[in-house]
Assembly symmetry: none
Homo-oligomer: 235 residues x 2
DNA sequence: CGGAGTGCCCGG
DNA sequence: CCGGGCACTCCG
């Protein structure tokens, strides 16, 4: 699973732009603009909400980064008592030794962390908090899950297929980096997850995609399109 | 002291123009232009600064209204420590009872206040903060003050001639309305200045100017011009 | 008159 | 104290 840098999951036709202010008191500050499919320029979250109407839920959408804010979701859940799970909310067993540096002019580590605003750390194996929960459609029909390819292996303690799908989905929606899976070995991750898990990658082992895999998938898509075309001609 | 609406104190030869936009999204907005004595059209404050050169201080000049902004002066002073006076900056003794009305559709008082952007309220008797300060010319010669006509009476606590001149000067430069002096009686103003002072008028009692006064002043001007003409012929 | 670019208020 | 949001300026 390799891929080039994606523009965070914007609907098709939407474009996001970052403009750095070049002069004045606020020089260096960046403004973020969106362009709707019909070319309208959107300059703020309230304006975006107005353009999209009430149907779209934007409370978890971070206007500046253009991505869904993971922790904003957590915040909303916390206040919906029917969704609070009976598990501990902290992860103190994973505490790491920390070096605290104050008032040093630009520690290198610090400036490296500064590449854009960071999300708050998220709970390791958060996916397991969703275990047993299933989405329903309006008529209370259970929405079918998916099967995973045989060569896609989860890494973590007793992960269900749903857990793995959840972590892949989160990685696709929250990150802008290529989604590669975990680079560390399954063994080292289970032994010391706090150190070895890459929180930005889904809980699957790195997969190698061959040119042959890509060709096969392209065939599948073409076949699906032909089927759809036939079905539409008959109707 | 009556007068018709004046064009805020522009140098002679300069003209100010307001043009209302007639159509488009910005219909109703007004653009302000200035014309220099040689007919050049000025469309913005930077352009005006360029045309006038570095000699003219424009930081307190409001391009849209064409007048000097009282509070802009205050703001600059605040950061020049050599000019901060050892007096209190607040006027809490003048606190007034206030009626707060929320969520009423368009209170009449509110909409009346909206006639153009308002200056921030200014300190009552702010002129007294300048007491004892005198302007000097480049050679550190004190610039002579002026005498006031005998029938021009100040209203306020122990106002010096300079205080009165300052308030008249401010009224002439900051306002566009006729300068009439205070209409309320001297007694009521001293008893409750916060209510009874008209902040847009100088701290003098209303003066009645007769046609005879005007004729006499016109004579004075004519005589002064004759004197000047003679002096220039001799030179 | 439009629109990019900046100032600046106000709420958290 | 900071940053989001929007009003406004200024020039094409």
């Amino acid at each position: 699973m390799e891929g080039k840098r994606r523009e965070g999951g914007l609907p098709p036709g939407w474009r996001r732009e970052e403009v750095v202010r070049k002069s004045g008191l606020s020089a260096g500050k960046t403004d973020v603009y969106y362009y709707s499919p019909d070319g309208k320029k959107i300059r703020s979250k309230p304006q975006l909400a107005r353009a999209l109407g009430d149907a779209v839920e934007l409370s978890a959408f971070d206007f500046r980064t253009g991505r869904v804010n993971f922790n904003a979701c957590r915040k909303r859940l916390r206040h919906d008592t029917s969704l609070i799970l009976p598990i501990r909310q902290t992860a103190s067993i994973f505490k790491q030794p920390v070096t605290l540096i104050r008032n040093r002019p630009e520690s290198k580590t610090k400036s490296e962390l500064k590449h854009g605003p960071q999300d708050q750390p998220r709970q390791l194996f958060w996916e397991k908090r969703l275990q047993g929960l299933k989405p329903f459609d309006n008529s209370e029909e259970v929405i079918q899950s998916m099967d995973l390819p045989r060569n896609m292996q989860g890494v973590g303690p007793n992960l269900s297929t749903e857990n793995i799908l959840q972590s892949i989905s989160a990685a696709l929606h929250l990150g802008t980096l290529p989604v590669t899976g975990q680079l560390a070995s399954k063994g080292s991750i289970l032994k010391n997850p706090g150190v070895n898990i890459d929180a930005n990658q889904p809980l699957i082992q790195q997969m190698l995609i061959s040119d042959e895999d890509i060709r096969r998938q392209e065939m599948n898509v073409r076949q699906a399109r032909r089927n759809l075309q036939e079905a539409m001609l008959k109707a």
